[in-house]
């Protein structure tokens, strides 16, 4: 066959890829991806290193256990909201209403907790999340049924829910959260032993999951990562978890919000990458037409995603209210919405749909919180803070654009 002479791999390449990859193959494959511009999370990793070095040289309080724990508490709200943003961005849509939707949930819950007719805490939280879920369904339905741009519909939502927050709070100004458990969401720290117990349980679960997955793939004879790499990854995860637990236990212990974040990140990663629903979200973001022809109900998936976006915004709002122990008329305002979207983008989720992972919400929020936290320690004015945060966002998008150009030149965009 003359045609096969021109092909780079005329042999049975599929069969080859099924057999166990050697470690050197794994790294040469990895190096090939790096060379073609698929840098993965390396830019973010180096960026974080630079941020840490800059702030530590400026202020010795930056790298302390106390500030380390503070950082997690500070980033929790944005991370939760950004998880929802990732889903919306994966579709290639946008949700500008998340800031004030988060405030609607927070204010609704806080008002329900107020005596004399205070609700039980879980009832107040579920009711608040139910309210914002309806908001998401409403916005998603308008966007899909009337074929309107999500930018415009959620911009209208941005104004409407801001107004609703002001109406709900009324002339009161500030409403205190009057429930110890709700306050504990962002202010409770796990006792030392419980922290270690959870850390070990987490590592064991991760290791078992990875090894069982590896064995399953080996038995079925489909492509898999070399065992040495899997073990190396498990060791790295164990070291990171152990390090974080150790440092946090030097101070007040692991914040409860970290456990909450872990559960949400794992759950929503599973939803995105292991279920039909998640597969459809990626497919719609990649090619809505292909999804439609495959018989996927594109409108219904979109409505669900806007519902998820609102629910996550609501959860994030509750975490923020818990941290501040109150809500006021400025709840959900400021740069909350922009920071949440920026977190997803800095973490590596594309604004154009189809590319990104749930973990990017955490990575991006970590970058933003690290910068804000450091600038706070240095006592910089809010003007300077905004300028620097903006430049960090620009830098992240630039790195993404440049590496994507590298990929398109090598034909792998």
């Amino acid at each position: 066959m003359m045609s096969q002479i021109n092909e780079p791999k005329p042999t049975n390449a599929l069969k080859e890829s099924n057999s166990t990859q050697s470690v050197s193959n794994y790294f040469s494959d990895y190096w090939r991806r790096i060379k073609t511009g698929d840098l993965g999370s390396w830019p973010i990793f180096f960026g974080l290193m630079v941020i840490v070095i800059i702030f530590q040289t400026q202020n010795e309080n930056y790298l302390t256990p106390r500030n380390f724990v503070n950082l997690f508490v500070q980033m929790a709200g944005i991370t939760v909201i950004a998880i929802g943003v990732v889903y919306v961005l994966l579709l290639g849509e946008i949700d500008l209403s998340i800031g004030y939707v988060s405030a609607v949930a927070a204010v609704f819950m806080t008002l329900r907790l107020r005596p004399p007719n205070s609700w039980y805490w879980i009832a107040a939280i579920i009711a608040a999340l139910g309210v914002v879920a309806l908001i998401g369904i409403l916005q998603g339905t308008i966007i899909t049924k009337f074929r309107l741009p999500s930018f415009i519909v959620t911009l209208a939502g941005f104004l409407v829910w801001n107004g609703v927050v002001l109406i709900m709070i009324g002339s009161g100004g500030t409403v205190i959260v009057q429930d110890e458990i709700v306050i504990g969401i962002a202010n409770y720290f796990l006792p030392t032993m419980l922290g270690w117990f959870l850390a070990i349980a987490l590592v064991v679960l991760y290791a078992v999951n990875r090894l069982l997955g590896w064995r399953g793939r080996k038995q079925r004879g489909v492509s898999k990562t070399p065992l040495a790499i899997v073990i190396a990854q498990i060791v790295i995860v164990a070291l990171i978890v152990g390090f974080v637990t150790y440092i946090a236990n030097q101070d007040r212990g692991i914040p409860f919000v970290v456990v909450l974040l872990l559960v949400l990140l794992v759950g929503f990663t599973f939803l995105a990458e292991r279920t039909r629903f998640g597969r459809y979200v990626y497919a719609i973001g990649g090619s809505a037409e292909a999804a439609r022809r495959a018989g996927i109900n594109v409108d219904r998936i979109k409505i669900y995603v806007f519902m998820i976006s609102s629910i996550m915004a609501g959860m994030g709002g509750i975490v923020l209210a818990s941290r501040l122990r109150s809500v006021d008329t400025s709840a959900g305002g400021g740069n909350l919405m922009l920071n949440s979207i920026a977190a997803a983008v800095i973490g590596g989720t594309s604004l154009f749909g189809g590319r990104g992972r749930v973990i990017s919400a955490f990575i991006g929020a970590l970058v933003i919180a690290s910068v804000e936290n450091g600038m706070g320690l240095l006592g910089l004015s809010s003007g300077v803070k905004f300028v620097i945060t903006g430049l960090v966002l620009l830098l992240a998008v630039l790195v993404d654009a440049i590496t994507r150009r590298g990929r398109s030149q090598s034909g792998t965009a």
Binding site: R217, R276, R279, G286, S287, E289, A290, R355
Partner: protein, 254 residues
């Protein structure tokens, strides 16, 4: 041809407003044959396959599948009969890998909610190997990384994976280079050898004479001739496409 054709259209018509896109067209394809569908732009080729696919209904006429009168009201009906269509733009999601694209909309799950990736990957590899598609580096590559010929192969493999009996290919070689065209044409021949009924729409007469058993020529929404590829010349086909005898022109007073 004692048995009835696998897929047969009898007297189908379709109008879009004042435009009569198809008029009283008969069409048939047998199992294990490649039927080329040719015609100039606007001859009604796309209208016909979209009608078969259930994208929109024919205004009149009947569809027979394996001798039985059937009704196709949507893409799902066509798929249920075993009729799969590979569109010219392929309808692949670039960001998803080969396996995800081949199973898009028909994902298999093993536990509640959980995709059975292992099983899907195995089935995808089996299908690709049965079609002798060997040039893929891995079925876990995103489709964006594939060449045009590889993408076409994935789209075809996606169509045949579901025990389909009729595969309709719309311009499968339109955007491909010489070597890749060769591969796709070989792939189409393998579909025939597996006993599928294959309908190929193409403007490239060279390709058609390479692979087709019979050629149906449409002109201005009517079928002007059905030729045996082995017994006809390119000139005859070109003549039929450009000046084939129309039985009657609807609306024209003669």
């Amino acid at each position: 041809m004692s048995e009835s054709p696998l897929l047969e259209l009898k007297g189908v018509s379709k109008a879009f407003g004042a435009v009569q896109a198809l008029y009283q067209v008969d069409f048939a394809v047998e199992a294990g044959e490649i039927m080329a569908l040719v015609g100039d732009n606007g001859a009604g080729k796309s209208t016909m396959i979209k009608g078969i696919a259930g994208i929109y209904p024919f205004d009149e006429g009947e569809i027979y599948f394996d001798g039985d009168l059937v009704e196709i009201h949507g893409p799902r009906d066509a798929a249920k009969l075993g009729v799969e269509i590979v569109y010219q733009d392929l309808a692949l999601a670039d960001n998803l890998d080969v396996v995800a694209n081949m199973f898009l909309g028909r994902e298999q799950i093993n536990r509640p909610f959980r995709l059975d990736e292992l099983h899907m990957e195995q089935a995808a590899i089996e299908t690709l190997e049965s079609l002798s598609v060997m040039t893929l580096r891995s079925v876990r590559q995103p489709v964006a990384e594939l060449s045009g010929g590889q993408r076409q192969a994935v789209a075809v493999a996606k169509a045949v994976m579901w025990n389909s009996k009729v595969v309709i290919l719309d311009e499968p070689t339109a955007a491909l280079g010489v070597a890749q065209t060769r591969q796709v044409l070989d792939l189409v021949k393998r579909l025939r050898d597996k006993g599928l009924a294959v309908v190929v729409i193409s403007h490239n007469l060279h390709d058609i004479f390479d692979i087709a058993d019979r050629i149906t020529v449409l002109r201005l929404g009517q079928r002007v001739s059905v030729l045996q590829a082995a017994e006809s010349s390119q000139q005859e086909v070109v003549h039929a496409i450009t000046a084939g005898q129309l039985d009657e022109v609807p609306g024209m007073v003669q």
